[in-house]
């Protein structure tokens, strides 16, 4: 029978064994997300009060919510999320600039009324949506700009992942870990373009590496030294 002698501090936080404060891919504060932003070509927020709909389209996990939240931090304005089920039956808010996330879930009568109000008050509406809202928006008198977010690429994922790791690194502690390009490629392939799925996979990868470091293993290429 093998007897394990673990450092108690690693039982409390296994990531200390890698020189990290925590798992770099844990969901954190929105403020932290701002400093981790990766520009994909649409970092500039839409102009408020422009009698327009800016619709952000893309598959689940492609970054629609991240863009809405990033822009809202620049412009202010209200953010409203529409969950599945009864929670979607709420009147969409209209301000100089308003952000509606999962806007395709808004019941059509409420959507039409709010689009009309947006046009009448010459406001800007930014919508994260899976379906094209432009026919209804144009009918209501709004100019429409559509942004289609592309799937995640391995190179971009690697840049983001390295920043996340850097952010949790403890000062003056050597890390002994390298995020190998092959690992990123593998994770990007599993994620099928979704940032959320990629971050989940990276979180699992980091947990496994930390566990391995605590146990003293060195059989994965990601741990060096």
């Amino acid at each position: 029978m093998t007897s394990l002698r673990l450092d108690p501090k690693f039982a409390l936080n296994p990531y200390l064994a890698l020189g990290w404060q925590a798992n770099p891919f844990a969901l954190g504060e929105p403020v932290m997300a701002q400093s981790m932003w990766i520009d994909r070509g649409w970092s500039q927020a839409p102009a408020p009060a422009a009698q327009q709909l800016v619709q952000v389209m893309g598959d689940r996990g492609f970054g629609k919510t991240a863009h809405l939240r990033y822009w809202q931090a620049q412009t202010g304005g209200i953010y409203a999320y529409y969950p599945p089920g009864w929670g979607r039956f709420k009147v969409p808010p209209v301000q100089n600039i308003a952000y509606w996330d999962e806007a395709d879930r808004i019941p059509k009568p409420l959507l039409l009324a709010a689009l009309g109000q947006t046009a009448r008050t010459r406001a800007t509406l930014v919508a994260g949506t899976h379906t094209d809202l432009s026919p209804l928006a144009k009918l209501s008198g709004l100019a429409v700009k559509t942004i289609c977010l592309p799937p995640l690429e391995a190179a971009t994922l690697r840049v983001w992942a390295e920043r996340q790791i850097q952010a949790v690194r403890l000062p003056a502690v050597s890390c002994g870990l390298e995020l190998l390009p092959a690992t990123v490629q593998e994770i990007a392939a599993i994620a099928q373009g979704s940032w959320r799925a990629a971050a989940d996979e990276l979180h699992i990868w980091a947990a496994a590496i930390a566990h391995q470091a605590v146990m003293g293993g060195r059989d994965r290429g990601d741990l060096v030294g």
Partner: protein, 121 residues
């Protein structure tokens, strides 16, 4: 500002965690607000969950400048847990946390956290 001395850093559910919080802060003004509590929270993917199990009685008037103040506490960890967990997607972390607000400050000026382990019976 605070130090923590646990009598037992590993506790099973249904048993007592005890220790003392020690205040000593010669370099800072006395806080106008102070709070210390025992809680668990989740960290990882998904929404954060959190529950405070016990608030350690602590009033700013107890804290005296240039003087060490011991604040002992005992708390029973619920039978229902949760237990400390280090998983692939989430962690469940138990900790004592203390924070103070200094005069003319609206935010928490010093938040300190001391984790401990909760194990199943």
């Amino acid at each position: 500002m605070f130090e923590m001395h646990f009598h037992n850093k590993l506790v099973t559910v249904g048993n007592e965690l005890s220790g003392k919080l020690i205040w000593y802060s010669p370099d800072h003004p006395l806080p106008r607000q102070a709070r210390a509590f025992v809680h668990w929270y989740t960290e990882g993917r998904g929404d954060r969950d959190e529950q405070t199990i016990f608030t350690i009685p602590l009033e700013p008037e107890q804290l005296i400048r240039d003087q060490r103040v011991d604040i002992p506490f005992v708390v029973t960890i619920p039978h229902s847990g949760p237990i400390t967990y280090n998983g692939s997607l989430i962690r469940v972390i138990w900790a004592v946390q203390a924070w103070v607000k200094l005069p003319r400050s609206s935010k928490r000026d010093n938040t300190q956290t001391w984790p401990f382990l909760v194990m199943p019976r």
